[in-house]
Each structure stands twice: as structure tokens, then as C-alpha cells.
């Protein structure tokens, strides 16, 4: 997505060339090795634009990864970027755009004492708050400690998401930053030692306007490092459930059934179903009523 000017560009399938006659924009080992032999073709993204990118204009390119967690154990410590013409001529390059989190995985499972996200959030309730009680298992080697949270599914951190600590003597948060809608970091002014226990809350997590489920990952890192000390990876459920609508069944006269006025078996009658809306009923919605008896 080209931001700032909101230009739109077409997408081209760049995987059509063969390995013998590689297109300079084709994602394969030959083409990628021409740029940097250390780059794996599976970790390359090519974006083509249907208009000339002007010099001196700031463009923003957002790459949305379908899985922002490393499923193979490592991505890269450096994110590189090349600007190449359609004929393969390299125009510009930047070998150190920044880190892609996580270089390493480990088997240290962070001890989650409790988490409120298992209590489902209501879809359409706009935002929710995550609260996790954590017990440190691996001591941090640096004076400052870092937590990194990711969230998957249709949930997003927002600019209003605040990281706070809760407890009798909670660690002081030095900085917290929403890196992306799916990633938030917090740096604590404390060198966590094994056994340290406290709660962390993240507010204003954007809920999807539909029933959805996702997961939260939590990584404990030393300061200025991408190597986690211990993790909870995609193991903290976060989901929305339906907004609960109070439903009542009455007779056609609007009365609750009692000994005198009641529902009958096996005869034609009328019932009234009363539904109190917990949120707006959009015109595109359908009201479905199902019964196991009718």
C-alpha cells in the first residue's frame, strides 16, 4: 500500500519466469542471489508499481505479513530494501532497514499465572483490555528488561493502547511503543530476576466487528536484543464472542406463560419472541429465529 498520497498500483505476478531465464523481478534463487547471496528467496518480497516513483517524495510501504511470528525459527536480523528498475538495474539500496523480530526461538516457556483474555470479549464492543499475570522464569542479563507482545487474528493494537503494570510493587515502565497494529513493546526499568511476578495490562485493543479468534504472544527479551529469554507464542487466546441479546418468549398476548395462560403441545398457536438489541441492528443484518420445537 502506498500511503501518504494514496496512490493505487496494480499487482503483477512476478513468478512466471523460469529459472533459466530469470526475470530480474522474479523471486527465485538466481534473481535474489544477484542482489545478495545471503538472502533466501522465500524471504523476499517484490512490489511492482505502475507509475514512476518521484525523487524527493516520501513514500510509505507497508508490508503486512500473514504471520508476523517466525514459524521456522528465524527471519532476519536485518531488513534490506532494493529499488530496481523493470530492466533489472539497481537504483538504490539499503542493507540495514532494521530488524525483523526474532532471530531465535527457545524452549523457555514463560509462566503465565493468569490471563483475562480467556474471558471472551464481545464483538462490536470496540476495544478490550488484556491483563496477564506473569512470573519470570529466566533472569534478564541486562539492567533493563523488554517485553514484546504480538496479537494475531483480526485484533489490533491501537495508538491508544497503553501498557501498564499492576501489583503491589510493579515494575516501572520506562517506555512503551506500539510498533505496529500487531506488535507492541514495553521496556521496564528493572532487571527481571527469576521468580518476579506482576501483572501487565494492555488497553484499547481493537476488537473486530465480528466473531473472531486470535492469539497473543509474549516475549521476554534483554534490552537491545532480539533474542527472547522466554516466550509464550500464539498460546494466549484472544477472541470475541457474540453480543448477548436478552430474549424472552411470551404468548401472543404478551404474557409470560403461567398456569392459566400457557403454551400448548401439538396445536396451532402464536408466540411472541422479544429481542433486546445489545448493539445497533444494521440494515444489512438478518434476523434468524430457530427453535428445536417448532
Amino acid at each position: 500500500m502506498l500511503n501518504s498520497t494514496y496512490l493505487t498500483t496494480s499487482c503483477v505476478n512476478l513468478n512466471t519466469a523460469s529459472s533459466l531465464v530469470p526475470n530480474p523481478l522474479t523471486i527465485n534463487s538466481t534473481a535474489v542471489n544477484n542482489l545478495n547471496p545471503n538472502i533466501q528467496s522465500t524471504l523476499a518480497i517484490v512490489v511492482g508499481f505502475n507509475n514512476v516513483l518521484s525523487s524527493g517524495v516520501t513514500y510509505e510501504l507497508q508490508i503486512l505479513l500473514s504471520n508476523n511470528l517466525p514459524s521456522i525459527g528465524a527471519l532476519s536480523t536485518s531488513f534490506e530494501m532494493y529499488a530496481i528498475s523493470g530492466t533489472g538495474i539497481m537504483q538504490e539500496e539499503n542493507w540495514n532497514m532494521g530488524q525483523v523480530f526474532f532471530e531465535l526461538r527457545n524452549n523457555h516457556l514463560m509462566n503465565i499465572v493468569s490471563v483475562n483474555s480467556e474471558a471472551a470479549n464481545l464483538a462490536g464492543s470496540i476495544v478490550s483490555t488484556l491483563q496477564i499475570n506473569i512470573k519470570i522464569g529466566v533472569s534478564c542479563p541486562t539492567p533493563l528488561s523488554v517485553f514484546l507482545f504480538t496479537i494475531s487474528g483480526d485484533f489490533q493494537f491501537t495508538v491508544g493502547s497503553q501498557v501498564t503494570t499492576i501489583g503491589a510493587s510493579p515494575p516501572q515502565i520506562l517506555t512503551a511503543q506500539v510498533v505496529s497494529p500487531n506488535l507492541i513493546t514495553a521496556t521496564f526499568n528493572e532487571q527481571f530476576s527469576s521468580g518476579r511476578q506482576f501483572s501487565v495490562a494492555i488497553s484499547n485493543i481493537q476488537n473486530p466487528l465480528e466473531i473472531s479468534s486470535g492469539a497473543i504472544s509474549l516475549y521476554s527479551l534483554p534490552y537491545n536484543s532480539i533474542s527472547p529469554l522466554e516466550v509464550q507464542e500464539l498460546s494466549i487466546p484472544f477472541q470475541t464472542i457474540s453480543l448477548s441479546a436478552p430474549v424472552n418468549i411470551y404468548t401472543a398476548e404478551g404474557l409470560s406463560p403461567n398456569s392459566a395462560v400457557e403454551f400448548y403441545l401439538q396445536t396451532t398457536q402464536y408466540i411472541t419472541v422479544s429481542i433486546q438489541l445489545p448493539s445497533n441492528f444494521n440494515p444489512s443484518y438478518i434476523l434468524q429465529i430457530t427453535s428445536d420445537a417448532l
Binding site: A123, G124, L209, E210, I211, S242, L243, S244, A245, P246, V247, N248, I249, T251, A252, E253, L255, P257, A260, V261, E262, F263, Y264, L265, Q266, T267, T268, Q269, Y270, I271, T272, V273, S274, I275, Q276, L277, P278, S279, N280, F281, N282, P283, S284, Y285, I286, L287, Q288, I289, T290, S291, D292, A293, L294
Partner: protein
């Protein structure tokens, strides 16, 4: 809300879907859906409400969901028959909205023997009330003989017909000694409203108790008659198969003109939510003339009453249509403006 836009889809015998909402219904609003049902589960049935787009409902993930359950305890007996009213039409009672009162007739044939002190209670909508002329000593007739009865109205109306402690108004069923069938006539009652599909539905819950001493032997029955508004004869209402009222000059045989020159025949007031609708039914050969118009679409008509709408509704093509069952004929609904 424009209820005319709502679309009711019967997905299966246990599921209905309602769509076609034209505007947002705010949070906190209450939607009521009145349905004609047949409950086949004993003793508890459940209602499940899902609100969302069809994809999410199909995926069993609606954004709004609710459920409720109710208990079904009554099994109907068959001791009531022949429920009629002023119009003498079965299961159809007439709401006399012109100031006169309505009458209810029915017969009671107990399915088990009753003895002295037997009594019949009828619970129904609070919109059925006794008229000011109602007399508890004379308004109710059992086998054409006046008997004491009472009508009380609170959240619902209760009609009570009691035998005395030494008599039995509701004897035994055949083949035991007659009278096996007891006729009941209740006069001087008032229906505040006539029924529609959603409003003013009158359940009649009959409860016949065999004796004062035998509360356990209670027979129950439920009738849901349509309460129709008093119908007057529009004597002056005429139709002309021509474009000319006086049938002179140029005639256009493909036109039908409906004329009601006597406006005094239209003076009775109709209720809120009600409209005057003239339905022109077509039968047999006429249906070809209406077939080129889609069902529920506008039909080419004109009226000197501004705001009159005309809608064609396609009927069934069944060859079994009879004059006794015209609701399945092709028809044009002429909805008159105002009340």
C-alpha cells in the same frame, strides 16, 4: 421502520429469517416477532436468535446471539367445538366496532365425566372485555338457559362459568346419558381490536374442571380464532367493465372501474396500523391478463383518491381453486390512503 420491505424466509420448519431492514435499529431497542407455531417438544423448547449477515449466521458466528427457553405443559383435549361469533363462521369472531357488542358461541363435550360443581374457565386477551350491558345473570346461556357467569379483566380476561355445588352444567360425554354436548353462548362482550398477523391475537385457553372436589381432572384446550372486524355491506359499490361510468360513449373493455358513490358507507373508523384495502380477485381466464406483471409489483391503476397504491399479487395456479378459497387467486390490492 418500513415493515413493507421486510422479507420473511422460511429456511426450514424450524428456522425463519427476516431481512430487508431499511434503517439502523438503535441499540437497546426491542424487536418483537410474533409467530404462528406448532410445538412438538415436551416439556421444554428453546428459541435461538442470531443477528448478523448471512455469512456469519451460516458460520454460526453471529455478532448478536440470544436464546430463551420455555416450558410446554398443556396437552390439548378436544372438548371444545364449533367456536363461532356473530358472523357464524367457524373459528372466526367478529369485533363489532360500531358500538354494538359481540357474541361467542361454542360447544363443550367433555372427554371424561363431570359431576356437580364442574366449571369452565376461559382465559383470553385483555382486549376482550365485557360490555357495559353485560349482565352476569343473563348474558351467558348454557343450553339456551341463562346461567351465572363472570368476566374479569386484568393482565388477561377470565370468563368463568360455574355449576352450582349441586348441579353439573357440563355432563358426560357420549355414550353416557345426554346431554352429551353443552352449548355455550356468551353475549355482551367487546373486542377492542380486530386481529392482524402481529397484533391483537386472541388465544382462548379453555380449562374444564370436572368438579369442585377434583382439581386434578382438568381438561385443557386452546383455540386461536381470528377476530375480524365488523364487515358492512358496501351496497353502492359497483364495478364497470368500461371506461365510462354511464356506459355510453367510447368503451374500453380492458378496463375495470370501481365506483363507490355513497361515501356514507365508509364512515366506520378503522384502527391504527390498519388500512382499507380493496382486493380485486381474478379467477380462471382473467389470470392471463395479470400474468405480465410481477408479483408484488405495482399494477397500472388510477384513482381520484391521492395516495392510493395498487399492487399485484400472483396467486396459485392450482386447478383446485374454488370460490370458497379465494386467497390463492391472482389479485390486485388497492390500498386506500388515510384511515
Amino acid at each position: 421502520m418500513n415493515f413493507n420491505s421486510l422479507i420473511y424466509t422460511v429456511v426450514n420448519l424450524q428456522t425463519i429469517q427476516i431481512s430487508g431492514f431499511t434503517s439502523i435499529i438503535p441499540s437497546g431497542s426491542v424487536i418483537t416477532v410474533t409467530m404462528r407455531v406448532w410445538i412438538n417438544t415436551n416439556p421444554i423448547f428453546n428459541i435461538y436468535v442470531s443477528i448478523d449477515n448471512i455469512a456469519h449466521i451460516t458460520a454460526l458466528a453471529p455478532i448478536i446471539y440470544g436464546t430463551a427457553s420455555a416450558t410446554v405443559t398443556a396437552t390439548p383435549s378436544t372438548f371444545i367445538s364449533g367456536l363461532t361469533g356473530n358472523g357464524n363462521e367457524m373459528n372466526k369472531l367478529t369485533a363489532m366496532l360500531d358500538g354494538t357488542t359481540s357474541t361467542i358461541y361454542f360447544s363443550v363435550t367433555p372427554s371424561s365425566q363431570t359431576i356437580a360443581g364442574s366449571f369452565l374457565l376461559i382465559y383470553t386477551s385483555a382486549n376482550l372485555v365485557k360490555a357495559s350491558s353485560f349482565n352476569s345473570a343473563t348474558s351467558c346461556l348454557i343450553n339456551n338457559v341463562t346461567q351465572p357467569c363472570s368476566i374479569t379483566t386484568s393482565t388477561y380476561t377470565k370468563i368463568a362459568i360455574y355449576s352450582s355445588s349441586s348441579s353439573n352444567l357440563f355432563p358426560q360425554p357420549p355414550p353416557l346419558p345426554p346431554p352429551a354436548t353443552t352449548t355455550v353462548q356468551i353475549n355482551q362482550v367487546v373486542f377492542n381490536y380486530a386481529s392482524s398477523h402481529s397484533y391483537y391475537i386472541y388465544h382462548f385457553y379453555f380449562q374444564l374442571t370436572a368438579s369442585l372436589a377434583s382439581q386434578a381432572s382438568v381438561q385443557k384446550y386452546l383455540v386461536s380464532p381470528m377476530v375480524v372486524q365488523q364487515r358492512n355491506q358496501l351496497i353502492s359499490f359497483q364495478n364497470y367493465f368500461s371506461n365510462n361510468i354511464n356506459n355510453t360513449g367510447n368503451n374500453f373493455m380492458n378496463l375495470i372501474r370501481l365506483v363507490s358513490p355513497n361515501i356514507s358507507e365508509w364512515q366506520n373508523t378503522i384502527q391504527t396500523y390498519q388500512k382499507r384495502i380493496i382486493s380485486v380477485f381474478t379467477y380462471q381466464d382473467w389470470s392471463n391478463g395479470l400474468a405480465n406483471v410481477s408479483s408484488y409489483s405495482s399494477y397500472p391503476c388510477l384513482s381520484n383518491l391521492a395516495g392510493t397504491t395498487f399492487t399485484f399479487i400472483q396467486g396459485s395456479n392450482s386447478l383446485n381453486l374454488t370460490t370458497d378459497f379465494p386467497l390463492n387467486w391472482d389479485r390486485i390490492n388497492i390500498v386506500l390512503p388515510g384511515t
